[in-house]
C-alpha cells in the first residue's frame, strides 16, 4: 500500500525487537470477543487512478458555479480567487504543520495569524481579532456567549434580518446552554423596531448587515440604545467583501463583530471549510473565545510570535474555559490573509465597487422583467426579488435552463409565508452575458 512504508520484513524485525510474535499481541487489551475477526464490509484498497475515477464521476454529477451563470449567495459567495493563493496554501510547511504549540519552529504560521488578526481588526473597524473560528455562524453563536460573559446577562435579541441558519445556530447553542434568545420575525425590508426589544435584561442585540435579504443596516441607533442599557451590539456579516465599500461595524458602534470570511480567498466548497472572523474591543479580550497569536521576543531579543492568553482556553481551564474550541480554520485564514494582502486597500475597495455595480445592473435588469419586483431600498451585492410564482419552482426551472438563479427564501424560512421571494447575488464573476442569460431564463420560466 503506497502510504505505508513498512514491509513485512520490517514488521517481523520490529515485532522481534518488541518481543512479541504477532501484531495481534499488541492488541490484547481489546477484549477478545470485541476484536473484529474479518475486515469491515467495505471495498478493498484502490489505486490512485481508480480513486480519481470514482470521485471524478461523483464530481461530474454536480453543476459547478463557474460552468453556468451563477447568482447564489445567502451566506456563501462565488468570487475569483487568485491562483497564487491556492499555490501558497499547499506549501508543505503550511499544509502539513500543526497548531503552533512549538513556536520556535512555527513562526510562519504564527506570523501570518498575527497579520490576519490585524487585517480582520482593520477591516471590521475593531481593536482586536482572534485567529478565526469555524465559520461565520459559529462565530456569531460564540459572540452571543461572550456577550453573556461580559454583561453577566443571559438574553440575546436577534434581528429578523439575520441569516436564518445563523439564527438557528445561535438558538441551538443558547438552548443547550440554558440561555434565552428572542428572535424577531423575518424582516424582509429592514423595517423592524429593534430598539423596542432592548432593555436592561438584554446582554446583546445581534444585527446583520448586509442582512440576509441584502439590506444595509445602519447600526448606530441600535448601538446607542444597547449601550445605554448596558448591552452589547453584536454585528454580523456574511459577505466580507461588503466591508470594502460599506461602513465598518466598528465605526457604527459594534462591540463584537462576527462574520464569514469565505468570500476572501476561499472556495464555495459546498459549505465548508470556511473561516469565521471574530473581532472585539481591546477591553474584552480576555473574554474572547478562540486562539490568539501575540508578539513577544526570543532569548536573543528578536521579535517573535506565540499563541497567547491560552489561560482562557480549554487546555488549562477545562470546564471553566471561554469556549470548547481547540481548532481554528488555519489554512482558510491563510487563504484569507494572502488574498487580502494581494488585494490591499486599493484592490478590496475596487472589488467591492465592482460587486456593487454588477448587482445594481442586475437589479435594474430584473426590475424590468414583467411581474418581478426588487424589494430592497439598499443593498451591496445581494437583494430580494418578489416573483409572481413560488421561488423554489422558478429556481428549479431556471436550473434546467442552466442558470443558477439564487436562493428561494422558503428554503431558508419554510412556512413563513415568503414563498415568492428570491435572494439574488451578483459578484465580480458575473458578466453582461450572465445577466442577459438570467433575464432571458427568468422571462422564459415566469
Amino acid at each position: 500500500m503506497r502510504y505505508l512504508p513498512l514491509t513485512d520484513a520490517d514488521r517481523r524485525e520490529m515485532l522481534a525487537r518488541i518481543g512479541v510474535a504477532t501484531v495481534d499481541e499488541l492488541f490484547t487489551d481489546i477484549p477478545e470477543r470485541m476484536r473484529m475477526a474479518a475486515p469491515a464490509d467495505l471495498p478493498r484498497a484502490k489505486g490512485e487512478m481508480e480513486v480519481e475515477r470514482h470521485l471524478g464521476a461523483m464530481a461530474a454529477r454536480n453543476v459547478s458555479a463557474s460552468s453556468v451563470p451563477f447568482f447564489i449567495g445567502a451566506g456563501a459567495y462565488k468570487h475569483h480567487v487568485p491562483a497564487t493563493v491556492d499555490h501558497l496554501i499547499q506549501r508543505s510547511e503550511f499544509l502539513t504543520s500543526y497548531t503552533p504549540y512549538q513556536p520556535e519552529i512555527a513562526q510562519g504560521t504564527l506570523q501570518y495569524l498575527f497579520e490576519f488578526q490585524t487585517q480582520v481588526a482593520m477591516l471590521t473597524g475593531m481593536e482586536v481579532a482572534n485567529a478565526s473560528m469555524y465559520d461565520g455562524s459559529t462565530a456569531a453563536a460564540e459572540a452571543v456567549l461572550m456577550a453573556h460573559r461580559v454583561t453577566r446577562r443571559r438574553k440575546a435579541v436577534l434581528s429578523g434580518g439575520i441569516h436564518p441558519h445563523y439564527a438557528e445556530v445561535m438558538t441551538t447553542l443558547s438552548d443547550l446552554a440554558g440561555d434565552e434568545v428572542v428572535r424577531l420575525p423575518p424582516d424582509v425590508t429592514a423595517t423592524e423596531d429593534l430598539l423596542a426589544a432592548i432593555d436592561d435584561s438584554v446582554s446583546c442585540v445581534v444585527v446583520q448587515t448586509p442582512d440576509v435579504f441584502g439590506n444595509l443596516r445602519d447600526l448606530r441607533a441600535v448601538a446607542d440604545k444597547a449601550h445605554a442599557h448596558g448591552a452589547l451590539l453584536v454585528a454580523v456579516f456574511t459577505e466580507a467583501v461588503s466591508l470594502g465599500l460599506v461602513e465598518a461595524p466598528g465605526a457604527m458602534g459594534a462591540d463584537i463583530v462576527a462574520g464569514e470570511g469565505q468570500s476572501i480567498g476561499n472556495a464555495l466548497s459546498f459549505g465548508g471549510p470556511y473561516v469565521g472572523l471574530f473581532a472585539t474591543r481591546q477591553k474584552f479580550v480576555r473574554q474572547m473565545p478562540g486562539r490568539l497569536a501575540g508578539e513577544t521576543v526570543d532569548a536573543d531579543g528578536r521579535r517573535g510570535f506565540v499563541l497567547t492568553l491560552s489561560t482562557r482556553e480549554q487546555h488549562i481551564r477545562r470546564d471553566k474555559a471561554t469556549s470548547n474550541i481547540c481548532t481554528n480554520s488555519g489554512l482558510c485564514c491563510l487563504a484569507f490573509t494572502i488574498h487580502m494582502s494581494l488585494l490591499g486597500e486599493s484592490g478590496l475597495t475596487r472589488l467591492a465597487r465592482v460587486n456593487h455595480a454588477n448587482a445594481v445592473k442586475l437589479a435594474e435588469a430584473l426590475a424590468a422583467v414583467p411581474g418581478v419586483k426588487v424589494l430592497n431600498e439598499t443593498f451591496f451585492n445581494e437583494f430580494t426579488l418578489r416573483l409572481p410564482k413560488p421561488a423554489a419552482a422558478v429556481v428549479e426551472a431556471m436550473a434546467d435552463h442552466h442558470v443558477l438563479a439564487g436562493v428561494p427564501v422558503p428554503r431558508l424560512l419554510p412556512g413563513a409565508g415568503l414563498d415568492d421571494l428570491l435572494l439574488v447575488a451578483s459578484t465580480e464573476v458575473n458578466t453582461d452575458a450572465d445577466r442577459a442569460a438570467f433575464v432571458a431564463a427568468l422571462t422564459e420560466v415566469l
Binding site: 477484549p31 469491515a40 488578526q117 479580550v285 474550541i325 456593487h356
Partner: protein, 493 residues
Amino acid sequence: QEEPLIFEFGRTDVIGVDLDEPAPVADRLGGLKRKDTIGLPGLSEPEAMRHYVRLSQKNYGIDTGLFPLGSCTMKHNPRLNERMARLPGFADIHPLQPASTVQGALALMDELAHWLKELTGMPAVTLSPKAGAHGELAGMAAIKAAIAARGETATRNVVLVPDSAHGTNPATAALIGFTVKAVPAREDGTVDPAEVAKLAGPDTAAIMLTNPNTCGLFERDVVEIARVIHEAGGYFYCDGANFNAIVGKARPGDLGVDAMHINLHKTFSTPHGGGGPGAGPVVLSDRLAAFAPLPYVRLDDGRFSLVEHAAVSDQSPLGRLTAFHGQMGMFVRALAFMLSHGADGLKQASEDAVLNANYVRACLADLMSLPFGNRACMHEVLFDDAWLKGTGVTTLDFAKAMIDEGYHPMTVYFPLVVHGAMLIEPTESESKASLDLFIATLRDLAFAVRDGDTARFTGAPYHAPRRRLDETRAARQPVLRWTAPAPVAEAAE
C-alpha cells in the same frame, strides 16, 4: 534576513489583483458608504509570493520531518486528496444550489457516512460538526436532547470525565450546562469500572471516555464501563481522537458507545493546516440517532436530498450547529483516503501505527521512564519525567533540544495525569529507517542528559528560526495586532 510584517512593507496603493474599475452606477448604499480609509496594505504578486514562501520556511511540517506529536496524529497527507477536493464539482459548488445540481456531492456525503458507520459499527452519523470539539458538542447535545425527551433534564445532569481526558471534554460538557465530575485513573493509567460504578447514579447523564485513552492505552474494561453507565441510565460518549489505533481492529458500536466524534484530520489524514480546518462527524447509537442535528442527507428512489428543517412531527429538538452541511472539503479528502486504503489498508494502517509506537517504546524503555510500566501501548507511547529527576533538565528543555536535532518535539505535559508527560505518536507513515534515526537521536540526547550536558537543553533551541520565546511576556502585555509606530519627529537637516 528577517521577514517583515506585511504592514511594514505593503502599501495601500499597491495591488496584486487586477480588476477594471467599473463604470459608475447610481449607488444603492443608502448613505452607508465607508468614509474612513481601512489601512490595509497591498502587495504585488511577486512580493506576496516571496513573503508567504519565506514565512512557510520558518515552519516544520510532516512533509519536512517526523512529527511525533502524541494525540495529534500527524500522518502523511496524500496529495491525491488535495487534488480530489479541488475538482470543480466539489470545490466550486454552493451549499444552497438546488439538490438536482449537487447529486454527486450528496452521494459523496452518503458514501462517507456509510464508511464511517461500517468502520464504527454504529447505525447513524451526523457529518456537520466542523472539528473534534464541535463534534463533542454535537454528541453531548444529542445526549442532552435524549435526556430531555425522557423528561429527566432537571435530574440527570452530571457528566463523568476521567482526569486524563482532553480539555475539550469537560469544556464541552460545561458549555451546555452539565456538571462535570472527575473520574480518577487507577495505577495502570486506565479507568476502573468500579470507580465509575461508585460515581454513577440517577444523576448521571453520560461518561466521556477517550479510547484508546490519552496515555496511549486501550481501556480494557470499556465494555464493563459501558454496562455500568447504561445501567445507571446514562450514555457513553467516546472521544474518538484516537480511533486511528483501532480502525479495522474493533468497532466502538460493539463496545457499547452511544456517540463518538471522529477527527477526519487525524484518523483519515485531512491536513492539519497549522491548526485547522478540521472536521468532526459524530456516529450515534440507535438510542441517540433521532437526536442528531440538522441537516442530513436522505435517499429516496435514487435521488438524494438534504433535510434542512425538522418536520413538525420529528422527535429531534436539536437544530443546526453550523450554517451549512459541514466540511465538504474534508469529506472528499477523508473519503479519498478511505477508498485508497480500503478495509484491508485501514486495518493495516492501525496495526502499523501501533507497531511503530511499540517499537519506539521498546527501543527507549531502558533510558526513559514509562509511568505505567513497560507494557504494550496502542498508537502512542507515554513517557514521564521521572528519569529527568535531578538532572536540571525538564520535559520542556528536552523537547526544545529535539528541535536542534531537526525534530518536532513530541506532545509535552499532556496528559496531565503523569508528571512531565512526553507523548510520542509516530503514526503508520514512518518507515523503520526513519524511526531508527529518531530513536538514535533520542538515545543520544538521553545520554547527553546523563552526562550532565545541561546547557544543550536549557538553552535550546539554538538552531531554529527563533531561540526560546518569552510566552510570559506575550500574555502579560498582550500585543495582538500590528499598530502603526508613532510618527517620529524628523530631525532638522
